[in-house]
Symmetry: C2
Subunit: 282 residues, 2 copies
Amino acid sequence: MSLHPASTQPYIRTVYVVSDGTGITAETFAHSVLAQFEGLRFKHIRLPFIDSVDKAADVAARIDQTFEADGKRPIVFSTLVNSEINTRVRQANGMFLELFSTFVEPIEAELGFKSSHSIGRSHNVANTEQYQNRIEAINFSLAHDDGQYAKGIENADVILVGVSRCGKTPTSLYLAMQYGIKAANVPLIPDDFERDSLPSNILPYKSKLFGLTIQPERLSEVRHERRPDSRYASLEQCRYEVSEAEKLMRREGIRWLSTTTKSIEEISTTVLQKIGLEGRFY
Amino acid sequence: MSLHPASTQPYIRTVYVVSDGTGITAETFAHSVLAQFEGLRFKHIRLPFIDSVDKAADVAARIDQTFEADGKRPIVFSTLVNSEINTRVRQANGMFLELFSTFVEPIEAELGFKSSHSIGRSHNVANTEQYQNRIEAINFSLAHDDGQYAKGIENADVILVGVSRCGKTPTSLYLAMQYGIKAANVPLIPDDFERDSLPSNILPYKSKLFGLTIQPERLSEVRHERRPDSRYASLEQCRYEVSEAEKLMRREGIRWLSTTTKSIEEISTTVLQKIGLEGRFY
């Protein structure tokens, strides 16, 4: 079940991410840091839920085995906050980068407060209000995906509009999952262009609308993957729809951005900035 | 549009996250670090896409204004890799924590390679194969949510099963979005318990099944939010369904975990560990 076949290029070093929680934050961070070493391949191993000295001993043994096998000490990104557990792991032959303590200590000095050094605090805890908001937003975004289920759309924080396959659905789900934002999405379809009007059910919420657009050439590629050689995927149809959608959005004064070369994260960040929700969530 | 009303508790310090990319990784990381200061409230401001010296000057001005207003220097988590931009921002009166360079320099020394110091490399770039896999997985998980659209389910990497509202949908979407895993989900419903058998369409894929379960009391709460005072939400019904689902999973030899007190991230991490997909993605 190798989903993303490993590159044939040999890896330069094994990288462990060791955490008392899920290690997801640390893993994402490690990827960001190592992405600065362009062209080098690393072998990543995440070891989550390391919350006892026994588990720490297993981790240390594993790091030592890798050192033997690779002939080079592994790089270990660690977010262990318990000092006994951390000390045990550090007995292994690795290069240790302590993500939390590196920054917690100077912040303690700056604030004049001691940190709580408590385990597994890095993630939203289930059943908190903030966590419930995220789950609620995911359910909302799913229920209001692709123009379905118009009831309740007035509760949306943002309503994404644009032609079919321009990136509305993944963006809506990301906004919900990452930020607890209730993001509906409604397609602009040829019917709307013929009537020369936005879908009637979203007309009352114009201030919540945000448009996504895309280069017709890229749209045609994306649509061909889904429905090869269809009229729907033809470059001519894509050009028509994108041009009409942009005309409509321009006339209605809807802000929009092009998704052509942007990742979900970049689209979402830009949407948040433009609709002024950025930074309201803490 | 204040979605999560601010606490009445005053914040102890303003925290900026300054990035040449989206800043999402840095923001998540900053939250993790500051979560170690239990009980203290911070005001978070993310400033993404700071990719020119002009923008850096604006950021510096903003940090200085905050210093004036708060009477305390802001904490600035920064992932600026361009040294000219970074130097300009650092002219402001803040406490600077440089997330990347703190670790990149020791890794350079360890590897004997220089990093590329290139901007905006921390995220998956749109249109790479890995990014396309994520988008494809999101579409797959949506199409195979809640037992719908059985066609193609043989391409799933994992099929989550469990009673209605036990957490299958958010977990499937998270696995797809974060890891590019094609996660289908299929509910176990009273019909299945009466027939005393798994749904027939997933029987051929038993090795891909992973069960989620939940305490009946918690399930009843969750269901009451969706359908207040329904039979569906009654504690009696929840007890019946959970007990039958666990019996079925036990008999069929399906691995499972309880979601009751777990976040999506914790559930997903555990699923990945148990099905052995952990660490296969790099």
